[in-house]
């Protein structure tokens, strides 16, 4: 049974062109790109062409692109790698981030704190943006790494990265700025938006590429200590045989996403707005979290009063609409959202919040079906909960 897929922020279907681009490297050109023979040269050439493509789309130099095994790995490498390199060079031990970052940033920051780094985590505003005043207070000359995402993965808000960068230049001049741009690629001109950052993470499966491939842009002047060591691949920044097929598909998906971006942003924003308008018209007590004017086109993050999001996700799944709530742990259970908590939303406000995320595969028919299903499900859930409430 195929349902209405409203979970593009979790993962997108691969673009057919990306599948076609990677297939020869799974079937024919299988050689290790580090080899010294003809078969290896085919792979190596394709890898470096892919690197050029990714660099072009992200506004980076070719040598600045490091392929990784995921967006999470790119985040880990950026945060831990830059912090440890700075420490070893005597350039400070301060790490500053926001409490509503993805766990791919928060977990390595926790680890660094255990290692003795001075960590500061600042909050966010109800608009869904990093608290710039708190950030200004948290920065000091000892700060070596600042990590603030470009687009929040849960509420979809674009962060004021240029203002963050200005504060960093001003108050923590030795610090490098990392931005997790994993959720931004389909919607923003990432090359322009991340020009102010020294480290930029992306993940291919968020824009029609394959799972298991990410990339980190690390500017030439940024020292990075590897977190995976071995054969010295990726100019010593990430060891391990490079996934040529993944890199090729990533470059193709990124190229197409970039080329189609303006058209897609307008199209998907239209679908998203129709979904939100329809929900508001059909359901009482529904509100959008964060500042709607700051949200990327695919994001519809809404809260329904008097409903438990965990139940709503299940009820919608049973009705064939696929959405998500909070963040998922490895067992698949939902956890209360640290993002909404960082934004200062009350437990009652957070309780009924779900994320509907649209993307390149979304259609008008999806929105029609979602609007057919969601109001009825919310209403019956509210009625049944009211009936059994003590």
């Amino acid at each position: 049974m195929s349902g209405v897929y409203l979970d593009h922020a979790a993962s997108t279907p691969m673009l057919a062109e990306a599948v076609a681009a990677m297939t020869p490297f799974l079937t024919q050109h299988h050689a290790n790109s580090s080899g010294a023979h003809g078969a290896a040269r085919v792979a190596k050439t394709a890898l470096e062409e892919a690197r050029e493509g990714v660099a072009r789309a992200l506004g980076a130099a070719v040598g600045e692109v490091v392929f990784t095994g995921s967006g999470t790995e790119a985040d880990n490498l950026a945060v831990e790698g830059a912090a440890r390199a700075a420490r070893d060079a005597g350039r400070g031990r301060g790490v500053v981030t926001c409490r509503f970052e993805h766990k791919a940033v928060l977990a390595p920051v926790d680890r660094l704190e255990h290692e003795g780094f001075a960590v500061r985590r600042v909050g966010a505003t109800r608009a869904g943006t990093v608290d710039l005043d708190a950030l200004a207070d948290a920065l000091d000359p000892d700060t070596s790494v600042v990590s603030v995402m470009l687009v929040n993965n849960e509420v979809g808000t674009v962060q004021p990265l240029a203002e963050v960068a200005a504060l960093v230049r001003d108050r923590a001049p030795r610090a490098v700025l990392h931005t997790d741009a994993v959720q931004a690629v389909p919607w923003l001109d990432v090359a322009t938006a991340t020009r102010v950052a020294s480290l930029v993470s992306i993940s291919a499966h968020k824009f029609g590429g394959p799972k298991g491939t990410g990339a980190l842009v690390a500017r030439d002047d940024v020292a990075l200590q590897p977190i995976i060591e071995g054969g010295g691949q990726e100019r010593g920044r990430r060891a391990g045989t490079v996934d040529v097929a993944g890199a090729v598909a990533t470059a193709r998906a990124l190229e197409l996403t970039t080329a189609r971006r303006d058209v897609e942003v307008a199209r998907v924003a239209g679908l998203r707005d129709r979904l939100l308008d329809g929900l508001r018209a059909a359901i009482d007590d529904v509100f959008e979290t964060g500042d709607p004017t700051r949200k990327v086109a695919g994001s519809a993050h809404v809260a329904f009063r008097g409903v438990d999001a965990e139940l709503l996700v299940v009820a919608l799944d049973r009705a064939g609409v696929y959405v998500s709530a909070g963040s998922s742990c490895s067992s698949g259970a939902s956890q209360s959202s640290h993002v909404l908590e960082a934004m200062g939303m009350t437990p009652e406000e957070r309780r009924g919040a779900i994320r509907c995320s649209l993307g390149h595969a979304s259609t008008d028919a999806d929105v029609d079906r979602a609007l057919d299903v969601i109001p009825g499900v919310v209403t019956s859930l509210r009625q049944r909960v009211a009936a059994v409430a003590p």
Partner: protein
């Protein structure tokens, strides 16, 4: 059952609940599996660990039914773990599995099942729900007397029984495993869980001490004479013989715990016996039997059955038996049929 009833099956990842789901599917129900996340971090082992969730998920996938994970860690902490700690700190002996059934499986989970519009919930417990001719329901011991779990379900009333399915209660454990093998379920050979899921028996004292203020005190005999010291009443339960800190000789048992005075009272085997058990919080699967009722009482999961007579809130035993630790469940039966039960005061 001709209509296709929607049933939510609590799947722990063990063989009993796996087979319960499979049998209900074969019987024509629309089955949905759910695994409860009750305790521990993302990678912690033990009950409701990621690997148990994965077993449940794989069984559901094999059966072709949807599967969900509900995060009930907050409810579990509040309704099961915290009262467990409080009870030991107050000198009582809690029964967390019973509280989990009361507040989680037949509490929070049942509420969620209602909210989602399910007609019934099912578990892998070895007990039988029997519909009487008048449309009321009884809870009877499982077909496999050695595996019977009606004791831990003593709190179910008519409202719960009317929408609870316990398909493996009709089977012996050998039957359950045979069904699992027949269906090729990956959980067919899984061991049973024996301990309380969130703490191993040998770690209980440490667990309680980390979470409650406890203090040392004296061990006294039944005449009140100090005979030893102890370092916390949470380490003692009625009937306990080991670790009392007294010299060998005639066997001594814990016969009482006084939390106020931080005293543990020990006595002889004879002093451990009693002919009356006071009960609190009595519940009944149906209405309370009128007047003074003949009952068979069970004071431990898989414990022996003793005959007696219930008057008001006191159980009078025909023959003297071991004292029941305050906090323990006393389930009352008439033959194989559960009448209800209470908690030893």
């Amino acid at each position: 059952m001709t209509d296709r009833r929607d049933v939510l099956v609590a799947m722990s990842g063990g063989v009993d609940s796996s087979v319960a789901a499979a049998l209900l599917l074969e019987a024509g129900y629309a089955v949905t599996g759910v695994t409860l996340r009750l305790w521990g971090g993302a990678t912690e082992s033990g009950c409701c660990s990621v690997s148990d969730v994965e077993d449940a998920r794989r069984v559901a996938a094999q059966l072709g039914v949807p599967h969900y994970v509900f995060n009930l860690t907050d409810e579990f902490e509040r309704a099961v773990v915290a009262p467990y700690v409080d009870a030991y700190a107050a000198g009582r002996t809690p029964n967390p599995c019973v509280e989990c059934n009361r507040t989680i499986k037949f509490g929070a989970l049942a509420e969620r099942a209602d909210a989602l519009g399910f007609d019934a919930i099912a578990t892998g417990h070895h007990a039988r729900v029997v519909e009487r001719r008048d449309g009321t329901f009884a809870l009877a011991r499982g077909a496999d007397r050695a595996k019977d779990q009606s004791y831990v379900l003593y709190m179910l009333g008519q409202a719960e029984l009317a929408r609870t399915l316990l398909p493996v209660g009709e089977l012996t454990k050998a039957d359950v495993r045979a069904h699992a093998s027949r269906l090729g379920l990956r959980t067919a050979g899984k061991d049973e869980s024996m301990d309380v899921c969130f703490v191993r028996r040998e770690d209980r004292r440490t667990f309680v001490r980390e979470r409650a203020d406890t203090r040392g005190g004296t061990v006294v005999d039944t005449a009140g004479r100090p005979v030893a010291t102890h370092d916390g009443i949470e380490g003692f339960t009625i009937g306990q013989r080991r670790g009392l800190g007294v010299a060998a000789g005639e066997p001594r048992y814990v016969v009482g715990v006084d939390a106020e005075a931080a005293q543990v009272v020990i006595g002889s085997a004879d002093e451990l016996l009693t002919d009356r058990v006071a009960l609190r919080d009595l519940t009944w699967t149906d209405s309370r039997p009128a007047g003074s009722a003949r009952v068979q009482a069970q004071t431990r999961a898989h414990g022996p059955v003793v005959d007696g007579r219930l008057e008001e809130r006191v159980l009078h035993l025909d023959a003297r038996a071991r004292r029941v630790a305050p906090g323990q469940v006393v389930a009352l039966y008439e033959g194989d049929v559960l009448l209800g039960g209470g908690i030893a005061a």
